[in-house]
Subunit: 197 residues, 2 copies
């Protein structure tokens, strides 16, 4: 019924986010899939980087970075930023990305990514060959045309943003399919059914 | 062009994983979206739990838990496990889940979830009202019928597993749509194009 695959980092679905770091005039973009929210008080994000990553050097100097969520159509650019090192190559020269100024930090955001987060590093945890960076989210940005007039999220904002989905280990990029239901709501059917037992 | 939304935990796409914890005969299932891989040496996963979570009590006692990735069709059960606390209610009585024995730890996995990870807690980091738990992945399981005869991943294993996708803050459950490309491959087009410049 179940096949054992041994210890593995296979995990899905996960994001494929673009991390921008900056040192002086040098700006780099790295693709990171090992990223997620770790606290709400204050809002914090965690990203894991291999110790030898060029972006880690830049982030350690400035203690800041931005997280940029690409839409599904940017899957080639996203993959490219994970394949090439900024140590050897100026990735921005190869990409049609526009850098916009951040509000709270000096590292820019990527205009072409519909959702962006400005982050300030708070803590670093060594885990073997990897470094887990915990950072406070000090500002977020969403494309103006993806917010409805009442300033509330569109009903299907995920489809409007159309975030790229990655599946680690099997190495597959996917788009979103159909909306199945709402969080903190779809499960109420089961509560009601259970109540009648 | 960009609207600022302030510090926020909005993030997409992310998993909606089911965490099983156990204390004696008591087994609990909790939905967690703040979860991700944090190291490869050894394979480690990080999950963030609110300090008052019942599952945190159980995990602190046993130092172990399992991560179970639900397919898209389980979105109601997944939402239910985040709505209800195991402190007041035996969730397994309300769900049609089958518990299977793990191989390396004593906490079971959920048969109905196609992919499962056995985890042993290594470290705990307090982040405001949240606790980030870092755990080693000591075993993983995939449904036998989702592995092809050569024991290699199917070409579109993500579609076969059909993992549920969650988009935090906007609180939306989604299925996967179409496969766009392969990781460590799709970006090579950009490298080739850049080489010709």
């Amino acid at each position: 019924m179940k096949r054992q695959l041994g210890p593995s980092t296979a995990f899905f679905p996960i994001p494929a986010a673009l991390i921008v770091s900056k040192d002086g005039d040098k700006v780099n973009v790295l693709t990171v899939s090992w990223i997620g929210i770790v606290s709400e008080t204050p809002p914090m994000v965690g990203i894991s980087l291999r110790r030898d990553r060029y972006s880690l050097e830049l982030i350690r100097k400035t203690k800041e970075f931005t997280v940029n969520i690409p839409s599904a159509n940017l899957y080639r650019e996203t993959d490219y930023c994970g394949l090439v090192s900024g140590r050897n190559r100026d990735k921005l020269r190869d990409l049609n990305f526009t850098m916009l100024e951040s509000r709270k930090i000096s590292t820019p955001i990527i205009k072409e990514c519909p959702y962006n987060m400005e982050c300030v590093v708070k803590q670093e945890i060594l885990l073997g060959e990897w470094v887990l960076i915990l950072a406070e989210i000090v500002e977020t940005h969403l494309d103006e045309d993806k917010i409805n007039p009442s300033n509330r999220a569109n009903i299907e904002i995920s489809k409007v943003v159309n975030p790229l989905v990655y599946c680690a280990e099997v190495r597959e990029y996917w788009s979103l399919g159909e909306k199945l239901g709402n969080g903190f709501s779809s499960g109420k059917e089961i509560i009601q059914r259970a109540g009648k037992k």
